[in-house]
Symmetry: C2
Subunit: 345 residues, 2 copies
């Protein structure tokens, strides 16, 4: 079968590799029918493969169950299923607390003896805990919307939930990438009346406005901070969602958060140390939260909203490529030509 590998910075290749096989009774094999490229894949695209060499790429996919191990009970051959971006047993204490990313028997796609999702097929460990059966036909028009529940929409939702967005809070979202736009949609879903989107790509911020942003601030740095303050009587907003991952965005977040407010990060931080000192964070009682989104925890909440058409998170996809052309998808996203690219194996 074909699968996607990152050999080094900017070096994405689709190559023949062995078909996955059931290794554990809790495994399933899924024939992938739709996957995509993630903004976080671009961090790997800049930094190259893993330390050990070549990385197996992809962690967002849906497809058809082809085979199941003897212990698998909740899905069967022929089911259309969605996988969240880590696999998890969904029964351990962390999973029960909604932190599937820290599952005691879970792990990441493309690690150990588990392949990536930008491929024709994949072995799914802990299939009962990981896979969610989708109650739609294989050719449903909702598939792009549903695919976002693998990661990007749930990541935006995680940011909003961890930031405790509600009808009582104002929100700033930093970043007009697919996660930032999903965070706007999530903040709207949780009732925020004021959602300021900081981003400077008009086509993206236009989608942000469609998703619920009430204001768009294209300026960055000190100028952007001042603009948000001007919009909020000098106070900033109760919640700031940081959906970029660079240090500048971190500093910008602390510049626009209201005293007593929360900075919720879902952009994968490309830095270790940052300012958490007295004037920045401690005196104004700012909370810093967020992290890797336990997508599995949010699928039960968000799936019905997709199925009833009340949200269309799949609008973040603006291009589709064949798996064999996936290198072009990485390039287009890296060059900001495409927002997020669907991949059809």
């Amino acid at each position: 079968m074909l699968a996607t590998f990152m050999y080094g910075p900017g070096d994405v290749r689709v190559e023949e590799t062995e078909e996955p096989k059931i290794l554990q009774p809790t495994d399933a094999i899924v024939r992938i029918t739709l996957s995509c490229v993630c903004g976080s894949d671009l961090h790997a695209y800049h930094g190259g493969g893993t330390r050990s060499g070549i990385a197996r790429m992809g962690h967002e996919f849906l497809g058809i169950v082809e085979e199941t191990g003897t212990d698998v009970q909740t899905v069967k051959k022929g089911d259309l299923v969605l996988a969240p971006f880590v696999w998890a047993d969904n029964t351990c204490d962390f999973c029960r607390e909604g932190l599937h990313t820290s599952c005691r028997h879970g792990g990441a796609w493309g690690s150990g003896d588990v392949g990536g999702g930008q491929a024709e097929a994949v072995r799914v460990p802990q299939a009962d805990g990981t896979l969610v059966k989708l109650p739609v036909p294989e050719d449903s028009e909702l598939l792009p919307d549903l695919l976002t529940l693998s990661d990007v929409m749930c990541t935006g939702y995680h940011a909003a939930v961890k930031g405790r967005v509600s009808s009582d809070t104002t929100v700033t979202v930093i970043g007009d990438g697919a996660v930032g736009l999903s965070a706007v949609l999530s903040a709207k879903l949780l009732g925020a009346s004021r959602i300021i989107l900081m981003g400077r790509h008009t086509d993206r911020t236009n989608l942000g406005v469609e998703f619920g942003a009430t204001d768009v601030v294209p300026e960055r740095g000190e100028e952007g901070i001042q603009k948000v303050k001007d919009l909020t009587d000098g106070d900033g907003t109760h919640v700031v969602i940081e959906a970029v991952g660079f240090k500048d965005a971190y500093d910008q977040a602390f510049g626009v958060v209201r005293k007593g407010g929360t900075v919720s990060r879902v952009g994968v931080p490309q830095y270790q140390d940052a300012n958490v000192g007295f004037p920045t964070m401690f005196f104004p009682n700012i909370t810093l939260t967020g992290g890797v989104a336990p997508a599995r925890a949010y699928i039960e909440t968000l799936l019905p909203r997709v199925l009833d058409g009340s949200i269309h998170p799949g609008k973040v996809f603006d291009r589709t490529v064949a798996l064999t052309d996936i290198a072009e998808a990485y390039r287009a996203m890296n060059d900001r030509e495409a927002l997020k690219v669907l991949v059809r194996p």
Copy 2:
């Protein structure tokens, strides 16, 4: 009258200064009958006075109202009152949200034209919002307990509240100073069943056990982290309260916090940058919270508990000096001879 001034590192002097006067119709003058020295005063003791020179010290006091401005309605001459460690109007939006430390018309003792609390008298701005009338006689045995509501007990409580301590959470408290011990008492009050106190001064940790600590870990750094992990099946605790303020304690906090958990800081950070990176904070979904405690917000909750004798936070005081001997109080606390010192003008 006499008041306390910090001239430079280790240089505390009690000197004659002008009696305070009513300057605004919302002011009151309070004749101080009990005050104390704060752990945070020791940061000033190490660093010396303010940038502009000499610092007026003290932010925890109770006393008798001597005079009130024409607009003051809730307290009158002769009332025994307690002041929280910042003054605030208690009516602005931040105060209504319980963030009196960010009051739109508030400020700190010893700043601008307001004196400090380690003095014989002080002008209290926003007297209606700031002062809390104490329903006990002037010679009540509860005065030391009540004085802790100015700062130290409310600071420990703030740490526990911001960390969302409940009967479902396990807690580690780093630091056996008066704030750490108050945090233990607060965690107990909020129902925590497991409270691990990290501290190595036996007399203090003994008081911690009396306040509710279930385990004491005297080791620090990697050794201390391992000890807490051993006590918690390798997981750490849901909440970690950092009541020290040094970078080592910050790193220790992230070493003992459970995935998905919260580090709540109330030790005034003596650093600006710290690790908030992927492995430390982002991947395990750790929340960093806390800050300067809005003591005024918690007095309504804690005052009844002191009055009915269910908590005795005043046990943190282990020495009393006259105002004229306050330099000796600073020295004793700095040398760890005394935990927290009462001052009687």
